[in-house]
């Protein structure tokens, strides 16, 4: 099972990768001064005290962008195997993929016309 060999490398890499940035942070923890102060530990708001709850005016626009991204994400992921096998496919098979893309383009055009893609 040769592919497992490659993934074993990725596995070790995935464990080692967060350790690389952790080392400087650990060294900093050893080296730096630590003089905690009530004023310093407060939430930053340009030098004045925070007023009210940490509540954020949340725009629906973010959610819509995330949603459309999710749909396109799934579409792109399904297109990759088709693109990989593309050289071996006959004409019908390549048209199948084109229709797939066109159907989703349809959805995008709907979103475009309804004006949800604009940042108001």
């Amino acid at each position: 099972m040769e592919i497992l060999n490659q993934w074993a490398f990725i596995g070790v890499f995935a464990v080692a990768a967060p350790i690389f940035p952790a080392l400087p942070i650990l060294i900093a923890w050893i080296l730096r001064p630590s003089k905690p102060n009530v004023l310093k530990s407060q939430t930053y708001e340009c030098g004045v005290e925070t007023v009210g709850d940490t509540w954020v005016q949340f725009r629906v626009q973010y959610y819509i962008y995330g949603l459309i991204f999710l749909i396109f994400d799934v579409e792109m992921v399904l297109l990759f195997p088709w693109a990989m096998a593309y050289n071996r496919l006959d004409a019908f098979a390549s048209i199948v993929g084109v229709i797939f893309i066109l159907l989703l383009l349809d959805g995008l055009l709907y979103a475009w016309n309804k004006g949800v893609l604009e940042w108001k």
Binding site: F58, V60, I99
Partner: protein, 174 residues
């Protein structure tokens, strides 16, 4: 059963999946719960790699951790402010007892009999592995899964249109 590196990997991913799942149901904080969920699904991606389906593993990470986690966060933000992102657990003891009872019932009543009575399931995973290119060909060829492929696209488009309709109606400014 010999302890190979595959076994070790399986145990590690099992711990990650279960630990993440336990984290989701026990933590009080909605955002932390989302992160634990993503940890658990990352474990599931590991299983896909062990089963020689790296494509599905990448799909899992890309779609769940890359898109759905962010949507969860946005959705949480849409419905409440940060300061009351805590939930309360009521009647904890009886809930835990019910969960354990259900688990035992499931293992003893369903999983164990099926596993013991079915010799096919006791084989290790088949060594015949198909590659991602075969998946691509299967998606597209006329004598294969072309129609479900197109239906998937239609489903995605319907989802997009439905979501846009819902998101628009709930927005008073539009």
């Amino acid at each position: 059963m010999e302890i190979t590196i595959v076994t070790v990997a399986f145990i590690v991913f099992a711990l990650i999946s279960l630990g993440g799942a336990i984290g989701v149901v026990t933590c009080h904080n909605l955002f932390r719960g989302t992160i634990w969920l993503m940890v658990s699904l990352f474990g599931a991606a590991g299983f896909f790699v062990l089963l020689s389906a790296p494509f599905l593993a990448a799909v899992q990470v890309l779609v769940y951790i890359g898109a759905i986690a962010i949507l969860f966060t946005f959705a949480v933000m849409l419905t409440r402010s940060i300061s009351n992102l805590k939930t309360r657990f009521t009647r904890l003891n009886i809930n835990i007892a019910a969960a354990i009872a259900l688990f035992v019932l499931l293992v003893v009543g369903v999983i164990a009999p099926v596993f013991i009575l079915n010799p096919d399931l006791q084989q290790p995973v088949s060594s015949v592995t198909r590659t991602t290119i075969d998946l691509g060909e299967a998606f597209a060829r006329g004598n294969s899964f072309a129609l479900p492929f197109e239906l998937a696209s239609l489903l995605l488009t319907a989802a997009m249109i439905g979501a846009i309709v819902i998101a628009r109606e709930s927005d008073d400014e539009v």
